[in-house]
Symmetry: C2
Subunit: 114 residues, 2 copies
Amino acid sequence: METSTVDPWHALADPTRRKVFARVAHGQCSVTEIARDLPVSRPAVSQHLRVLLDAQLVDVHQQGRERLYRPRLSGLEGLRRELESYWSQTLTRFKDVAEQTYEPTTPAPEGKTR
Amino acid sequence: METSTVDPWHALADPTRRKVFARVAHGQCSVTEIARDLPVSRPAVSQHLRVLLDAQLVDVHQQGRERLYRPRLSGLEGLRRELESYWSQTLTRFKDVAEQTYEPTTPAPEGKTR
DNA sequence: ATAACGCGTAAGTTACTACTTACGCATCCG
DNA sequence: CGGATGCGTAAGTAGTAACTTACGCGTTAT
C-alpha cells in the first residue's frame, strides 16, 4: 500500500517533529498533551506522530479515549549504527590527517580567502 | 557571516546527500569522483556538498584544480549527543514498561495506576 | 596561447511537505 | 440520552528543496 517504512533520518529532520519525538522519548504522553507545548495545531501533531510511527520511532496504545505514545527502539537502532559508522570513519580520517600533517604542495589553508 | 549553521539532521536527511557524505566519510575525495558513482549531475553534488559544509559535516581544501572534501567531527558531535540522549531515554522507558510501572508525566497520584 | 579539465553558481522547473481548517468517529460524563 | 473530550483524516495551500542546464572562472596540459 503505502510506504511501509519511513526513513528515520527523514522523520527526525523536521524540527517540530523532532520536538514531538523528544517529548515522547522523555515520557509517554497523549496527542493533546504534546500539542499544548507546541506552536502548531493538534492535527499537525497527529500527522507528525504518524510519520514517527511509520519510521518505527514511536509506539502507540489506546487507553480509554486517549492514545498514548511512547518511544520505540527499532527505529533508532539503524540510525545509531549508521551514525556510529560515520563517527568512527571520521575519527580515522582525522587521525590520518593529524599524523601526516599536511601536503606541502598546497598553500596555507588558513590564509584568508577574503 | 554564515550565521546560518545548517541543522545536521536536515543535512543528512536527504538520501542522495547522505550517500555523498558516506563517500566522503569513507575517504577524502573530489566532486567529480563522487558524482561518478551517483545518478545525479555534478552540480547537484556540489550543492549537496555546500549543505554538508554549512552543517560542518565536511571540510574542503583546494589542491591544484581539484577540491578535496573530507569529513569533519564538529557537525557530527551534536547529532551524536542528541541521538544518544534519545537512545538512553527510550531504553529507560522500555525498562519501565517491562516492569509494568509506567509513571505519568506530571507529578501525580501516588498509587499504582490501576 | 589554446584547449581541456574541475569546479561553483545562477536560473528555472517540479515535487514534496508542513501547516491550516473542517469534518466524522469513538469514548467518557452529566 | 445528549454534550463534551480526544483523536485521526481529508482537502487545500504556501513555502521549500532537489534536481536540471547554462555559464564563467581558475588551473593544468599540449
